[in-house]
Amino acid sequence: MNSSQLLTYCTFTYLLASILYIVVFLFRVHKVGIIATICTVLGFLMQTVGIGLRWVESYEMGFGHAPLTNMYESLVFFSWSIILFYLGLELKFKNRLIGAFATPFAVASMALAALGMPDEIKPLVPALQSNWLIIHVVTCFIGYAALAVACGLGVMYLLKFYIGKPASQPDNQASLIGSLPALKIIDDITYKSIVFGFLWLSAGIITGAIWANSAWGTYWSWDPKETWSLISWFVYAVALHARFVRGWGGRRIAWLAIIGFLAVIFTYFGVNYLLAGLHSYA
């Protein structure tokens, strides 16, 4: 078996898991929840082995590098980080409903990798031959993963806020929206995810700057990708401070979690396809 096959199986396992999570949410069949978790863990193991295999394969091809060097590989790693972060949340907060809002990001990432990106293993061009590449990519994507989940939680919050509020139906456990955690709890988990993501996002920007300095002698050159990472960083900085201004809590933080993640996605893809710059990932 080679890494591509394994990663394909993983994609379908994640797809199944996220469908199950959504079923748990929509039809309130909580017994299915455990199966969803098992699928997720299984997919995660396959993916971990798949990434490891890809690493080995690159050595067999004679040049050998960590599988974090192009769009395909970064998408795979992105989804891996999302699942890791999500499983951590599920364990910590003992809540599977978050799965319905988090795992679809991992599926989307894998699907995009499989359908849209060449998965050839290629040797590294000189610009990418640096240990900072791995450190930079890993820190960025751990951050992105937490922020993806924060975005899912933001959606969850707004869903509950806008739909679940009618006075005729006060938090009824049996209703669809009522089964979601209380707004205060969603807000808390969203905030914690943003906090975690922000730390890693900062680390990602910083490691990128250090790398740029060791490759070109400039730690910051306002290249579009750098700038967009800073823009998302600003958005999350706003989200972190929003709590301290009256009238800026809850709902606005949920929106900021979504807007921030859109900025992250734009940093990740939009810049490559829509703007010109130094990052050679595309």
Binding site: K122, S202, A203, G217, T218, A237, V238, H241
Partner: protein, 448 residues
């Protein structure tokens, strides 16, 4: 002791201003990625029309990130940070250093975490036991006697973590300081250096001013190597540093591995073939004497000590794979001169009567080096480190405080255990219940 604060101070200390500045900075930064930067004035006229281009000129849109208003936003953010930090510092510092034994039993009753026990004993008898339970659970106690008739113990962890926030906020200022130092004292330069050539200066980027290095740098060789699939694997420049006519260092520069020398950093940036010029190397097999020449096509060159004359008299190419072939003319002024074709980059053996020569010829390249001198970079790195360390402290650590108050209550002794944390309350709850368990299990206390 409340000081009247003036409105300007209040304005600059407000978090609302921070939200405003951050949002405007985000929006402004977007503009700079959508409208191409550093283009000629004509470019903007062509793209956006003369009126808009005029507006762009006023707003310095072509160098937006260096424009007066963008800098002004950064100044605003800095002022905001400075004033906000100063404003909150006294309160924060008093939380770090305050005497927590000075509190009152009334306030203790209002703590977030609280548990009360009663025992048949006397205050003085159990004080020691209480202290040792605290000590053994990792909460080293301080003690205050005669607190409204009872004894108060206090213990805390991580009061310094409150300073994490200051680290985060000042780190931004430290980074800005580094950036300013770099702008004022640092510069960027470039140098195109052909193989075998030397230079004692570089050219400043932007102004093209000649800047002296204070030493001489020589490019010995520029090499590109390729992977099997034809994509480039490495660009390497071999460098010799010469001081006072003496070669002091031989080294090489590759992408991602620059050379640091006397405060200058040299980066491999690009390269260029020099049209019609070649670099050749020739070695006498018997005597091993050798020589490198920079040659032009059609121009003869003499290696006088060996009595040799040679030249490149014809070039063919590029052939498949980008290769060239050269036609060489060679004479040792002893026997008939020869001419022959050879591949660019290959080594050929030229056999003569008394010895043979090994001869190599290849295209001459100029290596493109970028040079940076930035004394602010360590400020920036320190600021970055401070930011990450500060964020870690702010997000994951907390200031936790525990009080235990022992007092007579109607012939019994009341033990009030209480505490609070400024953050991560869920973790503190766990800490607190562990401590309570320790109290309940203590053999010296016999709690009911």
């Amino acid at each position: 002791m409340k000081k009247e604060k003036n409105t300007i101070w209040v304005f600059f200390a407000s978090v609302k201003l921070a939200l405003f500045t951050l949002i405007i900075l985000a929006i402004a930064s977007i503009i700079g990625t959508v409208i191409q930067q550093d283009q000629s004035p004509e470019f903007y006229v062509r793209q956006f029309g003369p009126t808009t281009a005029k507006l762009f000129q006023v707003l310095d849109i072509s160098h937006m990130y260096d424009s007066w208003w963008f800098i002004l936003l950064l100044v605003l953010l800095s002022l905001n940070l400075i004033v906000c930090t100063l404003d909150r510092f006294p309160a924060l510092w008093s939380m770090v250093t305050r005497d927590n034994l000075a509190t009152t039993p009334g306030r203790l009753e209002k703590m977030g975490q609280k548990k009360t026990f009663f025992v048949e004993s006397s205050v003085n008898e159990i004080a020691g036991a209480v202290a040792s339970v605290m000590e053994n659970s990792g909460w080293k106690p301080e003690k205050a006697d005669k607190k409204e008739g009872g004894i108060l113990f206090f213990s805390q962890k991580g009061p310094w973590t409150r300073l994490g926030l200051i680290a985060v906020h000042t780190s931004i200022l430290v980074i800005f300081t580094g950036a300013i130092i770099g702008k004022i004292l640092g510069y960027k330069g470039g140098l195109m250096l052909p193989e075998t050539a030397t230079s004692d200066h570089i050219y400043q980027r932007g102004t093209n001013k000649k800047l002296p290095l204070g030493f001489v740098i020589r490019c010995d060789r520029f090499q590109i190597s390729y992977y099997d699939n034809g994509s480039p694997k490495e660009y390497r420049t071999n460098i010799t540093i010469i001081e006072d006519g003496k070669e002091v260092e031989k080294t090489s520069i590759v992408v991602n591995d620059p050379l640091d020398y006397r405060g200058f950093t040299f980066y491999q940036s690009n390269f260029q073939p020099v049209d019609g010029q070649f670099i050749t190397h020739i070695r006498n097999e018997n005597t091993n004497s050798e020589q490198t020449f920079r040659m032009r096509a059609g121009k003869e060159i003499a290696w006088e000590s060996e009595g040799i004359t040679l030249g490149i008299i014809n070039i063919m190419g590029p052939m498949k794979g980008g290769k060239y072939r050269y036609k060489i003319w060679f004479s040792d002024n002893k026997a008939e001169p020869v001419d022959f074709w050879m591949d660019g980059g290959a080594t050929v053996k030229i056999e003569r009567q008394d010895t043979s020569y090994f001869f190599t010829a290849k295209q001459l390249y100029s290596t493109g080096l970028q040079i940076a001198k930035d004394p602010g970079v360590w400020w920036v790195y320190s600021g970055c480190f401070m930011l990450l360390a500060g964020l870690y402290i702010v997000f994951f650590l907390s200031h936790r405080r525990i009080w235990v108050y022992i007092v007579d209550a109607d012939n019994r002794i009341k033990i009030l255990v209480c505490g609070s944390a400024n953050k991560n309350k869920i973790n503190f709850e766990k800490d607190f219940s562990t401590l309570i368990e320790q109290f309940e299990q203590s053999n010296n206390l016999h709690l009911t």
